[in-house]
Assembly symmetry: C2
Amino acid sequence: MQISSRFTVAIHALICIEMFKADHKVTSDFIASSVNVNPVVIRKLLQQLKKAGIVQVARGSGGADTARPVDQITLLDVYKAVECVDEGGLFHFHENPNQLCPVGKNIHAALDGRLETIQEAMEREMSEVTIQDILSDTERLITS
Amino acid sequence: MQISSRFTVAIHALICIEMFKADHKVTSDFIASSVNVNPVVIRKLLQQLKKAGIVQVARGSGGADTARPVDQITLLDVYKAVECVDEGGLFHFHENPNQLCPVGKNIHAALDGRLETIQEAMEREMSEVTIQDILSDTERLITS
DNA sequence: TCTTGTTGTAACCATTGACATTACAATAAG
DNA sequence: CTTATTGTAATGTCAATGGTTACAACAAGA
């Protein structure tokens, strides 16, 4: 099982916004054409990013922009915005282990802390990369 | 999107094997009753663990056992055995960014290294926990 | 040899989530 | 009022998960 491509699409969208907002109005159609998906997919994505306070979207007149400087938007922010990590987290625990079995009764408690540590390691790494970092890398690649 | 419960079920199964193999023959039915799933699910899982060299399964006579000491089986071993992480890894990149757009053309290269680093952080953490660790924790919980 | 318990596996089915697509009302600005 | 755009509902397709039944292959004891 993989983390949804919404994550990389969202990053792509943010890079597009930063890269082109000085020149064009960056609409869902514009982003969709760079990512190569249906514009509605981008609109739904922008709604999620908006709810998380990452972007602003201009209804009617059109166009999206970042809601704060991109060196203050981490990959973790984006990840949490687009993955529905409401609860449960990265790992999916089987629901109903047999409580009459000593292992079934205790496996959850024995494993939870470990899984959390693993997830935290991933999230820590995500929180150390900002959209600005990706933007700089992309600019470097474009001009080389 | 979450990592399949096959992962935690596999760990549960291994703990069951270690905990009970001295007393009972640990069959797929036995494990299934502790995990509370269909025995066929366990059998398929054991096949994956067997292919990865983690367990041995006795056809005919019945019963599963670990193929090597559990302090030499890490969570990463189990993860790789049950998740079909053949390729692509943890993240799912959108396939066809627009090559005519400078961002679409370079986003892949700009992002790949970062995503890899994140995945490696997760896998490193997984490789530092063994089934023996979980087993010890479980035993401690049972006797307390 | 026959019986019994078990594994290995194929064949389904239901459910879920991702992603695509169409359609259209709501909106903002010229 | 017109036009471009967003917000969102409705629908469809596809793949993966997880469940279940069924049964042949197999090993070992009676």
